[in-house]
């Protein structure tokens, strides 16, 4: 059907996008690789020669490394748990008949559109400030001592802010998936006397399986890269330094480019492992 001519035209038209993305991927990536094998301190002597794998071993043996991995895992894991569980429950609720469904849906997904710096600053100041924050007022009403949220309970606070941003995403995707469920199947199960819990466990949850997997994979990729929220709330202090933030500090704040680049390579490998799983699911869908 497609002629030889249209084939070469097609290749030509794909070229700009392919070349741009190839450049975007290869140029910075090879530079990061290059720097990762060098002792490179732009402000203190510049390029100080090749050091082999020293940066790689120094990055993982520094005292900040394991805590940052732990912090990353706690943030990603907790946010995933919260958003998926509440996302499923909320999607189930929003799928029920009610008045004003459209408006409620709009209210629920709104936080997703708030830029990260705004949501972090609003939470930090207007809600979590230990003197003037709304939570402090609320605590005082009950006679309790206001909490220093972002220093005493820094991780839970951060998890709350990030979960607030991502719950709408999970809910929206799970709701879309629930709505594609064949309602006759549910009705048949109901007629056969299956309890609501059984219907949820044996029909709805298996149907949602793929959507949940996709939510987990996509969110993981974005959550591993959480940056602005930490940047404007704690600046990495009080045990909130994630792997991403540690690399950022090594590269731009302490200008130890070699060390930071080695960390960057670790982050790229980690993200690629997760991306591989996501690609497989998306690819399968492409064949269908």
């Amino acid at each position: 059907m497609a002629t030889q001519q249209s084939r070469s035209a097609a290749r030509l038209m794909m070229a700009p996008a392919v070349v741009l993305l190839l450049g975007w991927m290869l140029v910075p990536l090879s530079m990061t690789l290059y720097f990762s094998f060098k002792k490179y301190l732009p402000l203190r002597g510049g390029d100080l020669g090749w050091v082999g794998f020293e940066n790689y071993s120094r990055f993982v043996s520094s005292s900040a490394f394991w805590p940052s991995v732990q912090t990353t895992l706690i943030i990603v894991g907790s946010v995933l748990l919260i958003t998926v569980i509440f996302g499923v429950l909320l999607a189930l609720l929003l799928d029920q008949p009610m008045w004003g469904q459209g408006i409620v849906r709009i209210l629920v997904i709104a936080p997703f559109f708030v830029m990260p710096t705004v949501s972090a600053l609003v939470w930090k100041n207007i809600f979590m400030d230990p003197v003037n924050g709304l939570f402090a007022h609320l605590w005082r009403v009950f006679g309790a001592e206001p909490v220093q949220w972002l220093s005493q309970a820094s991780l839970p606070s951060l998890i709350m802010i990030v979960s607030w941003q991502w719950l709408p995403f999970a809910t929206l995707i799970l709701l879309t998936a629930i709505q594609s469920l064949d309602s006759e199947q549910l009705e048949a199960a109901e007629m056969d006397g299956a309890s609501p819990l059984k219907r949820f466990w044996y029909i709805i949850l298996p149907h949602l399986g793929r959507a949940i997997t996709i939510v987990i994979l996509i969110q993981t990729i974005f959550l591993l890269a959480v940056f602005a929220e930490i940047f404007v709330t704690t600046g990495g202090a009080f045990g909130t330094k994630t792997l991403t933030y540690l690399i950022f500090q090594r590269v731009l704040e302490s200008q130890n480019v070699g060390l930071g680049s080695a960390g960057g390579v670790y982050a790229i490998i980690l993200a690629n492992i997760i991306a591989l799983f996501l690609m497989r699911i998306v690819g399968k869908n492409l064949d269908a």
Binding site: M14, Q101, L121, I126, A228, A271, L286
Partner: protein
Amino acid sequence: MARAVTQQRKIINTVLAWVIGLLIFFPILWTFLTSFKTEATAIADPPVFLFFDWTLENYTEVQNRSDYLKHFTNSVIIAVGSTILGVLIAIPAAWSMAFVPSKRTKDILLWMLSTKMLPAVGVLYPIYLIFIELRLLDSKIGLTIILMLINLPIIVWMLYTYFKEIPNEILEAARMDGATLKSEIFYVLTPMAVPGIASTVLLNVILAWNEAFWTLNLTAAKAAPLTAFIASYSSPEGLFYAKLSAASTMAIAPILIMGWFSQKQLVRGLTFGAVK
């Protein structure tokens, strides 16, 4: 009887959903309300909800003190510019993948997506260095190009899924009537794909508007869009809740409105068509 039960359930659903919905929306609502208070009212104990003297002075104050409009314009130029640039590059690519597929089309599409997964922090320094060399640091052009590149995979992907839905026969008919490739794409395909292109533009403007890694790291006073401008409020002087709220409200309002119109496309765009 059965009807009464369902009516009762509907009331419970409604109340429950509204309570949860308002709870989730509350931080945005509260920010909006605070933006109309004086700084003193904004921190009043107990907090005032609706009954205060509404004022617009925070909005004028934010503009006068820090030239808010400049950053707003930067955001518009960067978000819209990067999206339009991306769409122009992506339309031909998506066309060829959708209508002249080869054995490798699928691999190319997946590879494009995989570039989206590259953690930004891993290439932060190279990009920083390139920007210094090319004098692009703190420039709108530099940021527009970066945001175009990070959103290009999503743009190609979305356009591809929309183009796929257009029947090939229509394009073949145009070809039979002697349409050139150029007129086939611009006069036959593009008009039919307008809804798809529009929602692609909408979603990507939203994503570019809210991008907060490159905008924070590659800009300073001159080219800073709203994400970076708002971040400057993290080291405040004196009372600033009402002003922060005013600046925040203006930063999120346009995107909130666009977002509400793009709910359906959002799912499709962000799951790469895996959930429809």
